[in-house]
């Protein structure tokens, strides 16, 4: 923790590995929020069936 972070240097892209990892985790979290079902919340079709 007391040492500088490692960096990815690819062409004009220069980003620290912790920052890149965090951005990756955010993209994964965003994707999961779109596909995971919300608790206690059926699909639109089920809701229409229940009236």
């Amino acid at each position: 923790m007391d040492q500088p972070a490692g960096y990815l240097h690819w062409g004009f892209i220069l980003i620290s590995w912790p920052n890149l990892l965090l951005i990756g985790l955010m993209v994964v979290l965003f994707g999961l929020a779109l596909i995971l079902p919300f608790p206690g919340h059926g699909s639109a079709t089920e809701r229409e069936k229940r009236g």
Partner: protein, 214 residues
């Protein structure tokens, strides 16, 4: 909610304000107990997690301000609250950006919601300044290093004469007083704007014009 004062007070600005509030922000919109069906998605949780993180930021920051730099650098409890403040800020920004992504792909500025979007964008910008002044207020070598490097960047914009990053008192005052008040007011306004217009309907929903906050 029914007005207690009759319409004969139409010349009064308080009555006019009351009528505006009753018309544009009725209680059932301000404190709804039901939301549209499409709000049942994890994407809508990002905004409320951002607010929860902000509560932790302000609570931990208040304690840090009460006890001061020696405490937050040298004592175990102080270092704990220092870390709590730092990590709640990280969560605040992570979930604010996720909320921004979600609202961007929903085009949440539709149907009269542009002011809500703009207040959100301004809140984001003010939060970045608040985080920056926070890094400058740490009272350690890290904050000195950041200040010495940042002064050239800030001076190049021409506002260095007013916004002096080497002036600890100014940076600390901004960080613990003016910027938190600004962010809190902006977030409160943002929530009221969402309540006034209702949650934005899905893009392909044909009935979107009538689906307001139900």
């Amino acid at each position: 909610m029914k007005s207690r004062v009759g319409d004969d007070s139409s010349g009064s600005w308080t009555a006019a304000t009351r009528r505006q509030l009753e018309r544009r922000l009725p209680w059932e919109n301000l404190l709804p107990d039901r939301q549209p069906f499409w709000v049942g998605s994890w994407v809508y949780v990002f905004g409320v997690v951002t607010i929860a993180a902000l509560v932790w930021v302000i609570a931990s920051g208040t304690i840090l301000a009460l006890f001061g730099p020696q405490w937050w650098h040298l004592s175990r409890a102080g270092r704990f609250f220092n870390s709590l403040h730092f990590w709640s800020v990280q969560l605040f920004f992570v979930f604010m950006v996720l909320h921004l992504w979600g609202q961007y792909f929903m085009a949440s500025w539709r149907e009269g919601r542009a002011p809500t979007w703009m207040v959100g964008a301004v809140t984001f910008a003010v939060s970045i300044v608040a985080a920056f002044t926070g890094y400058l207020s740490q009272q350690n070598f890290d904050s000195q290093w950041i200040a010495v490097n940042a002064k050239d960047a800030v001076n190049s914009t021409g506002i260095g004469g007013f916004f002096n990053v080497l002036n600890f008192g100014q940076m600390y005052g901004l960080h613990v007083m003016l910027l938190p008040i600004g962010i809190t007011v902006l977030v409160a306004l943002h929530i009221v704007q969402v309540r006034m217009k209702g949650v934005v309907p899905p893009i392909d929903d044909g009935k979107s014009a009538t689906s307001k906050g139900r």
